[in-house]
């Protein structure tokens, strides 16, 4: 399942969606809004997430499909929020469900690493003085993706 939503989500409800007695392992990634300083050293009070929804859905579908086939997952759920989010709110959830833990853990990491550099979402920091600041892509995220090149068919 793939979902892009401006509403929050409940972990237990989403877990029920992927839960099955054919699975022996689930790996979760939950990204949340953290308190931080902006690049101009201003306090962040939240984030705003912009999305090109038609493209993001197509890109997420490809990533999910690769995860399902490469790690023989039984299910893979991806939820991403859009709009205005306060500190501490949930941004993104990935659940990889598999027979064995190694596949679930590695697939979950692949999905979130891919999402970070390949899916049409853009983050803005919301600052104390009502300014918005574009968040820049991190080199580290691109470097992390290199490790998957040899693994993914």
């Amino acid at each position: 399942m793939i979902k892009i939503t401006n509403k929050s989500f409940d972990l237990e409800t989403e877990f029920k969606f992927v839960s099955s007695d054919t699975n022996g392992a689930y790996s979760f990634f939950l990204g949340t809004v953290r308190s931080d300083l902006s690049s101009s050293n201003k306090k962040i009070k939240g984030i705003y997430l912009e999305c090109y929804e038609e493209l993001a859905l197509a890109q997420l579908k490809k990533i999910r499909s690769k995860a399902l086939s490469n790690w023989k997952l039984n299910e893979c759920l991806i939820i991403h929020r859009i709009g205005k989010l306060d500190l501490g709110e949930k941004i993104v959830l990935v659940i990889a469900a598999s027979s064995h833990r190694a596949n679930a853990i590695e697939a979950c990491e692949f999905v979130i690493d891919s999402l970070k550099i390949d899916v049409a979402f853009w983050k803005f920091h919301l600052l104390d003085d009502d300014e918005k600041e574009s968040v820049l892509q991190k080199n580290l995220d691109n470097e992390k993706m290199l490790k998957w090149k040899d693994i993914i068919n």
Binding site: L49, E50, L55, A120, F121, K123, S134, Q137
Partner: protein
């Protein structure tokens, strides 16, 4: 013919709009459209010179500047993504 341009992230902020509808009398290439836009507004020069910006035509990344644009096409301007 009509082509919709969609702008995202800092490009949307800089242009102060999320989209444009371009009306043309004949088909043109992506490269010709690029040159037209640059001649109308210097901001486009900055956008097209930024090698990190990607251009998607009907949800597919443009890899050939000579690609022809057709009626009803949607061309999206995408800075590096930062979701997750």
């Amino acid at each position: 013919m009509n082509i919709t341009l969609k702008y995202f992230s800092w490009i949307r902020v800089k242009l102060k709009k999320s989209h444009d509808l371009i009306k043309l009398n004949q088909t043109i290439s992506f490269k010709e459209l690029k040159n037209n836009l640059i001649s109308k507004d210097a901001i486009y020069q900055e956008i097209f010179e930024d090698k990190s910006v990607k251009f998607f035509l009907n949800l597919r990344e443009i890899d050939d500047e000579n690609q022809t644009l057709n009626n009803g096409d949607i061309l999206a301007f995408l800075p590096p993504v930062t979701g997750g």
